[in-house]
């Protein structure tokens, strides 16, 4: 803070901001009477779910909203400049120079045909007008500043050679090129893995201290808010419902919506002492009253094994010589063994490239293993048995917007599995669709409508209904709640738990979100580079993580409690390694050690020696 006070950078001050969009029927108000200040060196977070107006606010500060279709009233001041009355030309000069922005998608916000260094240098030249050679030196200095290892060598590399986390660092370097007074970060870590998220948040904080800039942080993740923000503004459908210091709001939220939002945030460690999953308490957004979560009875029936996976491996060749000799392979899944009992939820956790989704696809028979076997209810999954076994294994996908065929009505989509297996008559199918829709909490009247008319949460419920049509015994949920808003996420998790109670379903819950996993699972398998490094009862894994990777994963989860902010110096800048290996790579023989009953840990290999 002391550095910030000595610099003369201006702060941001917004007051009485109203934004409306023009549509066919006139003007729709999207932000109403918003006001807050950010002092230099301070971080303010705008929190809200989709449609709350948080991103629109950020764009209005940058003057990036379409002029013809938007009406902005109020005042946005940066220092003593009134941004709303600036000409487009002045605004353009301001953007990048005094206000910089980083976006959610580091994959698409860089130009793929230009090398990384030049993209940074381009921005420096555009704003400071220095020579190319100077700009190059400055760009390398910035790359070092955002902790890109061997910056001088990576100057000439292209975006596709950088991982997601590294690209976000490049974006930050570009944003910082002109030492802006205000940095707007719009969900900068949402698309990143949890360990990388921790590193990027850390980096933003560190740079803020050095530069003394104001940061406007836009996010839906309460954990991230608790981690970075000094003050927060909670928005709900265009209105500010609560505002104050982060500590104050987390300790004593007054508005029902804030309470609902906070209660829906899974807290890591809130489940110690219980072995079974626990539904979320659902708050009513209007009244603020909580419906207490039902206490669940145990559903696990160890006598019936639904799914058995033995020594499963799958490798894909990525590089071949012209003679067909494979010189590089992705070892996507390597010697994975696991079992799932009736009524049990096994969570598979890991980061990108860990092979967790591939494992899910192998279990459903969508991919064929290179080695090993999958047995569903005692029957082996092979290409000739896949069709009949698919009745017992169903899958829920991550993105509810792409997992429903846009050309099928909801009713048809739900009964599609029945059609594929030629079950039930047309009238029976309609009845089944109606009852399944009711079962997942939707109105049976929507069966005639198309998926694009529904929100993400509703679509995910439709997907759940579809998986239930064949009365399966195992459901693979591949990041099924990751794309949903927090409050919707809580509802869908509760729905899955209810269904498990009712039908004794076995779930394979694939996720990177440790906090949700803690809520929902009986057992947890941690995957890293295609291998299971630790597997065991959920309580054991979370209370006593043994493998260094599991520990790193749990430590990286943002804690939604500002008083328990992490010691930032602990976070290392390590990248997630790639599962691509040379063609002659020999898979090391792994041995597992039993820490406690059912809790197995891979013997730590030499690569973890720190």
């Amino acid at each position: 803070m002391s550095i910030a006070e000595t610099t003369s950078k201006p702060g941001l001050s917004i007051s009485g901001l109203n934004i409306s969009f023009r549509n066919k029927d006139g003007w729709t108000s999207v932000v109403r009477n918003l006001g807050f200040d950010i002092a230099p060196g301070e971080t303010v977070a705008i929190v809200g779910e989709s449609g709350s107006g948080k991103s629109v606010t950020a764009l209005s500060v940058l003057g990036l909203l379409p002029q013809q279709a938007t009406r902005i009233e109020g005042s946005i001041r940066l220092g003593d400049k009134e941004l709303l009355s600036l000409s487009p030309k002045d605004l353009k000069a301001l953007r990048g120079n005094e206000i910089a922005m980083i976006f959610q998608e580091p994959m698409t916000s860089l130009n793929p045909t230009m090398c990384i260094g030049e993209q940074i240098a381009e921005s420096i030249i555009a704003h400071r007008g220095i020579s190319k050679a100077e700009a190059k030196l400055e760009a390398i200095r910035l790359m070092e500043k955002v902790h890109i290892p061997s910056a001088a060598r990576r100057y000439g590399e292209y975006p596709h050679q950088f991982s997601g986390g590294m690209r976000q660092r490049v974006m930050i370097a570009i944003a910082l090129a002109c030492k802006p007074a205000l940095l707007i970060a719009d969900e900068p870590t949402t698309a990143l893995d949890v360990t990388i998220q921790a590193q990027v948040l850390n980096l933003i904080k560190e740079l803020q201290e050095e530069e003394g800039m104001a940061v406007l942080f836009i996010t839906h993740d309460m954990g991230v808010v608790a981690e970075v923000a000094d003050r927060m503004v909670v928005m709900y459908r265009g209105d500010v419902v609560e505002e104050g210091t982060t500590t104050e709001i987390f300790a004593n939220a007054r508005h029902p919506y804030t309470k609902a939002l906070l209660s829906a945030v899974p807290q890591l460690g809130s489940m110690s002492g219980s072995n079974d999953p626990q539904p979320f308490a659902i708050y009513d957004i209007n009244t603020g009253l909580a419906t207490d979560a039902a206490v669940l009875k145990s559903t696990v029936d160890m006598s019936e094994i639904l799914l058995e996976v033995k020594d499963l491996s799958v490798r894909f060749p990525v590089q071949q010589t012209i003679f067909g000799k494979v010189t590089a392979r992705v070892h996507a899944v390597e010697n994975v063994s696991l079992t799932l009992a009736r009524g049990e939820t096994l969570a598979i956790v890991g980061e990108s490239g860990s092979g967790k989704s591939t494992t899910g696809k192998l279990v459903t028979g969508l991919l064929h293993p290179t080695a090993g076997k999958v047995e569903i209810c005692g029957k082996p999954m092979r290409s000739d048995t896949r069709q009949s076994l698919s009745r017992s294994v169903q899958m829920i996908f991550q993105d509810p917007f792409s997992s429903l065929n846009p050309r099928l009505t909801v009713g048809r989509a739900i009964t599609e599995p029945l059609r594929i297996h030629k079950l039930a008559t047309e009238t029976q199918r309609d009845e089944i669709a109606a009852s399944l829709l009711t079962r997942v909490g939707l109105s049976p009247n929507i069966a005639k409508r198309y998926p694009h008319e529904f929100s993400g949460g509703q679509r995910q419920r439709i997907c759940v209904a579809r998986t239930l049509a064949l009365k399966p015994s195992v459901i693979i949920a591949d990041e099924a709640v990751s794309a949903l808003d927090v409050s919707v996420k809580a509802q869908v998790v509760n729905l899955l738990l209810e269904l498990q109670q009712e039908m004794q379903l076995g779930f394979i819950f694939i996720s990177h979100d440790m906090a949700v996993v803690e809520r929902i699972s009986h057992r947890v398998a941690v995957m890293y580079l295609g291998e299971i490094v630790e597997i065991g009862p959920r309580a054991a894994i979370f209370s006593n993580p043994v493998h260094p990777y599991t520990r790193r994963l749990i430590e990286a989860v943002p804690v939604p409690d500002p008083s328990r902010r992490r010691d930032r110096h602990k976070i290392t800048d390590s990248e997630i390694r790639s599962p691509v290996r040379a063609g002659d790579y020999v898979v090391p023989t792994r041995t597992y050690r039993e820490v406690s009953p059912g809790h197995l840990v891979q013997e730590v290999g030499p690569e973890w020696a720190a």
């Binding site: 698919s390 996908f397 991550q398 792409s402 997992s403 065929n405 594929i420």
Partner: protein, 277 residues
């Protein structure tokens, strides 16, 4: 949906015009029209009259009737060729895009070979070998346009097959044929329909070109290309003999393109038109 067709809308004009074209061409043999081949050498190059609205040509035949029959011949050849090309081309493209590997390699390389031949050259080659007339013209034009359908289908399948809903149907245990034809095909219909419209329009032009060169429809049967060819010779005496078939050809292609453009918008469930907004 019910309200969409009850009210007249300007964007439906191409649909009405195309319907008119199709009805007139289909019913041409039964309509009370003159014989398009009936000559009346006494009134060669006669101007418009009550009996002959567009006048008469160099043999005294009724120009309007000949135009109608020429359009009919053009559309029959064009639609037949486009439908054949569409069916085979799409099937090949979907198969190649969905199965990948060797099938894809063989199918796409075959397409590349066909693409190596300029369409007009290929058509001329076949016509020289098998003689002119619609029976050679239709299969030849179909082969010429198979690659464009295959390419469009292949490219669209590649983007659609990576969508989760395709994966979802597969995980439900659907057979490959079902995934390809009841899940993927409806979702790539948009670009294919546009391709179909384009093919019909281009086939009309190509057919006219071949007829113009004397390799397509044989005289005395009426054809727009033939009419343009003979009209050229008498340009100084009767310019309208050239203008009418040219105008008919242009109008036909414009109508086809406008109609198919509109159709694509309507077929997309996300488009606002279907919701009647």
């Amino acid at each position: 949906m019910t309200g969409t067709f009850s009210k007249f809308k300007s964007d439906q004009i191409p649909a009405y015009l195309l319907a008119l074209l199709l009805i007139v061409s289909l019913l041409a043999p039964v309509l009370p029209l003159q014989d398009p081949l009936l000559m009346d050498t006494a009134s060669r190059f006669a101007g418009p009259s009550a009996q002959h609205l567009f006048g008469q040509d160099e043999f005294g035949r009724d120009i309007l009737v000949r135009l109608i029959f020429a359009i009919r011949n053009s559309l029959i050849v064009a639609f037949a060729a486009a439908v054949l090309a569409g069916i085979f081309g799409t099937a090949l493209g979907v198969l190649a895009g969905y199965s990948r590997g060797l099938t894809e390699m063989l199918a796409m390389r075959f397409i590349d070979i066909v693409l190596c031949f300029p369409p007009l050259l290929l058509a001329m080659l076949a016509v020289t070998l098998y003689g002119p007339g619609p029976v050679t013209l239709i299969p030849v034009l179909a082969i010429v346009f198979v690659p464009s359908f295959t390419r469009v289908a292949h490219a669209s399948v590649l983007s659609v097959r990576s969508q989760d809903y395709v994966e979802a149907v597969r995980s439900m245990g659907a057979s490959n044929a079902r995934v390809m034809f009841s899940t993927i095909l409806p979702n790539i219909a948009g670009p294919l329909i546009v391709q179909f419209s384009f093919t019909v329009a281009v086939t009309v032009v190509l057919e006219s070109g071949l007829s113009f060169l004397g390799l397509g429809v044989l005289p005395p049967a009426p054809s727009l290309g033939l009419m343009i060819g003979t009209g050229r010779a008498t340009l100084a005496q009767a310019p309208m003999l050239l203008v009418w078939p040219c105008a008919a050809l242009t109008a036909m292609i414009l109508i086809l393109n406008a109609f198919c453009d509109d159709l694509r918008d309507r077929l997309d469930p996300k488009s606002s038109k279907i919701r009647g907004q």
